[in-house]
């Protein structure tokens, strides 16, 4: 209990620091810390799957993205910091936000006992999915349509980012070209870490059917490895018009849709799996989905095309 209380106070303290920090770069560092602490909270709340996702995406990739942006926007941020809102607005905001927090806190204390839960139903239906991790069962079976639509959400975000390319460089390479430095430490790390990272990523994805882990967490690690070799300059980001890249991007949702539609014929409903083949079909969906998510995440970080195709 003392540990949890300390952790909660620390999370709140870091959140305040993130908001109050004068320098945006420092605020971003605060945010990354916040994400890591939240991952710890998820472990305490018996949600290891969420902890992995929070550390990998919520803190890791989001943090990297924000760090990159804060250095590129340094000048603008300092300029804009002068446009602070007036005292009246600040006061109104304090009142409003205090009210929201107080209302939410009251509700937390008012939630009914015993708490309503779907855990028994989720447990009872697990056998029909052949999975050993209930969270994966929710993501891939009970609420598979959410996951399916979410892969499309990621894809649309990427289309949105690509749409920001100047017309002249459309179809070209995303982001800046990083120069490889054969003596450099990044090159060394990329060469050493990437094989291990790919292994870990595949392991996290694979173990997701029975233990904490899954396609999102695994895909994030794979994406991070790709970003690392791009940053080290060992490979360049692919031009966005490449057919193979487009295929990789849509493979996940496409296979998901295809097997979902096949469900009409073989199991009587969209996204239904026949009991005997449930796990096989789910893994068949998960492999391309993991790949597509990994590629999408890496390209979301890489940004819009900035260099014309050769």
């Amino acid at each position: 209990m003392a540990f949890d209380t300390g952790l909660a106070v620390l999370v709140l303290g870091v959140a305040v620091w993130t908001l109050a920090a004068h320098d945006t770069f420092a605020a971003v560092i605060g945010f990354v810390t916040y994400g890591l602490l939240l991952a710890l909270v998820w472990v305490r709340l018996a949600a290891p799957d969420v902890a992995l996702t929070e550390a990998a995406i919520g803190s890791g990739v989001t943090g990297g993205l924000l760090l990159g942006a804060s250095t590129r926007l340094r000048r603008a941020e300092i300029q804009a910091a002068g446009e602070k809102p007036g005292a009246t607005l600040r006061f109104a905001a304090v009142v409003l936000c205090t009210l929201v927090s107080a209302g939410l806190a009251a509700i937390v204390l008012l939630l009914p006992e015993p708490a309503p839960t779907l855990a028994p139903q989720a447990a009872a239906s697990m056998a029909a999915t052949g999975l050993g991790n209930p969270v994966t069962a929710v993501l891939m079976a009970y609420r598979a349509i959410d996951t399916l639509l979410e892969t499309v959400v990621l894809l649309l975000a990427l289309v949105g980012i690509w749409s920001l390319a100047p017309d002249g460089v459309w179809g070209g390479f995303p982001g800046r070209r990083h120069q490889a430095d054969s003596e450099g430490v990044l090159t060394f790390v990329a060469q050493l870490l990437v094989p291990i990272g790919i292994l870990v990523g595949i392991y996290i994805f694979w173990v997701g059917s029975v233990a904490p882990g899954g396609e999102f967490q695994g895909a994030t690690i794979l994406a991070a490895m790709w970003i690392l070799v791009m940053m080290a300059g060992l490979v360049d980001a692919p031009p966005v018009s490449r057919r193979w890249l487009r295929l990789l991007l849509i493979a996940g949702p496409a296979v998901f849709f295809a097997i979902g539609l096949a469900g009409f014929a073989i199991a009587g409903a969209f996204l239904a799996y026949p009991v005997d083949y449930a796990k096989l079909l789910i893994v068949t969906i998960e492999i391309p989905v993991t790949l597509s998510i990994a590629v999408t995440l890496a390209l979301l970080v890489a940004g819009p095309p900035e260099r014309a195709p050769k």
């Binding site: 939410l104 639509l149 949105g160 018009s241 969209f270």
Partner: protein
């Protein structure tokens, strides 16, 4: 409400799968084929929407589908009631029109892929899939994902031209939309914590008046209002809708802002039909009034045509929320409530057609003149008579003049207001109509005036594109001729307690 999947439920799946498959295909086959793929998908999805409406009409019941055969609360249900079916048909007809119109603006490139056509056509289909997912979503979290899908498809359209103003508008739109989604999600979380389900039908049976329900519904409503750009959350809308290319403006103003409005109806009339809260409904009505007044008055002062139309959207969204005080006070089931409710929904539909036609007409005018300054419109009425006629028809519906969909909608709101003794809303409806008349007249007077020097058009405007615009404007007018019986479609599947009178 049936408690199992109904025959024909698979149509609901197709309504989402078909447009999204088009998105995937366009991406992989490349921008040269995106337009063709859209043209193939369009009639198919239109047919699905019509089939869904027909099934709802024939069975007089809700069309329902449990995805993966997992029953709620564990699984996710898709449901189409009369309102969903009507909105889907509206969206389908409108998007088909917009698609035909946009062929002239985003033609397929001959050799290599181009940015704007690829992005426009894929996102048009994505918006369609997301709208359908919103209209048939039976689960609060699934609806959250659908709303995000809609946001991510809509925002990039705003900044398609890459100018600094539109980029800023898109960013502001995105921030408001994200704030809206997160508040919506927060409310859904609280409801799950209290009632153990996210399914709309199950929730409506379990929910009871109390602090949890109130805070949750308020948070969700606030979030949706931010997305619907109701006053005082309206500031993001005009630059975003005016900055987008004309066909994109048409879909943003006509359909995208209607999705959160649709969900507010779901929340207030379907999830909590037994929890009428007249005071809260009055607040929505007051915000709607403020939107009508502010939007119309600012529209009167605009110098650019597209901004004027965008501010008019702010005002017309205000009308949508007048239905809440009229359909909720003093208790559910009052005979005139259904009239008010139907008026509100009809306003959403007729505004969709009218506004889409007006934005596209403005787009054609801007293409012809190279600018859209209202002061420089003189003579355009002679040069592009059909386009200006379409604009005027749309304006008639906005003003609420007979015969038009806008007239029937506003008349219904007016009648309900008078019959329920809430005459002040009737005054709002009338004043709003007068103001709309003011800004529409402002444009038409300029457009029909003789030019001081002969007008030279920068580019010829194809008759087929003008025909599409007129057709949509005529749809807005024709809605005024619909007899009452088809309007009963709207009532199918509504909770009995919320339906009264009318028959």
């Amino acid at each position: 409400m049936p408690n199992s999947a109904t025959a024909g439920g698979f149509l609901l799946v197709l309504a989402i799968v078909l447009p999204i498959s088009g998105v995937l295909l366009s991406l992989v086959l490349g921008g040269r084929h995106a337009e063709r793929i859209t043209l193939i998908v369009m009639p198919a999805v239109l047919a699905v929407a019509l089939a869904i409406a027909a099934a709802v009409w024939r069975t007089h019941n809700v069309l329902q589908y449990f995805v993966g055969n997992w029953n709620p609360p564990l699984g996710v249900a898709l449901r189409a009631d009369g309102l969903s079916a009507t909105m889907m048909v509206t969206a389908a007809v409108l998007i088909c029109g917009i698609g035909l119109f946009a062929r002239g603006q985003f033609p397929s490139p001959q050799q290599s892929e181009l940015r704007a056509p690829l992005v426009f056509w894929t996102l048009l289909l994505a918006i369609w899939g997301a709208l359908n997912a919103v209209f048939i979503g039976g689960d609060l979290f699934n609806l959250y994902v659908a709303l995000e899908l809609l946001t991510f498809a809509a925002v990039p359209l705003v900044s398609l031209d890459g100018r600094a103003e539109t980029l800023a508008a898109a960013l502001r739109y995105l921030l408001f939309a994200l704030l809206g989604s997160i508040l919506y999600l927060l409310g859904a979380v609280l409801l799950y914590g209290a009632y153990g389900t996210l399914d709309i039908v199950l929730l409506s049976g379990r929910i009871h008046a109390g602090p949890v329900a109130w805070v949750a519904i308020s948070l969700m409503t606030t979030g949706l209002l931010a997305k619907a750009a109701l006053y005082p959350f309206h500031l993001w809308l005009p630059p975003a809708h005016a900055g987008a290319p004309a066909p994109a403006s048409a879909i943003l103003s006509g359909l995208v802002v209607k999705a959160p409005f649709f969900l507010v109806i779901r929340l207030w009339f379907d999830i909590m039909p037994r929890m009428p809260e007249p005071a809260a409904a009055q607040v929505l009505g007051i915000l709607g009034t403020a939107a009508i007044l502010v939007g119309s008055l600012v529209a009167l002062r605009q110098v650019r045509l597209k901004l004027l139309i965008a501010y008019s959207t702010v005002a017309q969204i205000g009308y949508l929320f007048l239905m809440f005080p009229l359909a909720i006070k003093p208790e559910m089931g009052h005979p005139w409530h259904t009239t008010a409710w139907t008026g509100g929904v009809l306003q959403a539909i007729s505004h969709a057609f009218a506004k889409a036609a007006m934005f596209m007409a403005a787009g054609l005018i801007a293409e012809a003149l190279g600018h859209d300054r209202i002061a420089g419109l003189s003579g355009i009425g002679r040069a592009l008579p059909i386009t200006v006629f379409a604009f005027a028809l749309g304006g008639v519906s906005l003003m609420g003049l007979p015969p038009s969909g806008g007239f029937v909608a506003k008349a219904m709101l007016l009648t309900a207001a008078v019959a329920e003794g809430q005459w002040w809303w009737a005054v709002v409806v009338l004043v709003g109509g007068l103001l709309a008349g003011g800004y529409v007249f402002l444009v038409l007077a300029r457009a029909l005036a003789d030019a001081s020097q002969p007008l030279t058009l920068l580019s010829p405007i194809s008759p087929s594109r003008q025909a599409v615009v007129v057709a949509l404007a005529v749809c807005a007018v024709l809605l005024g001729f619909i007899p009452l019986r088809p309007l009963e479609l709207l009532q199918i599947g509504r909770p009995d307690i919320a339906v009264g009178g009318m028959k």
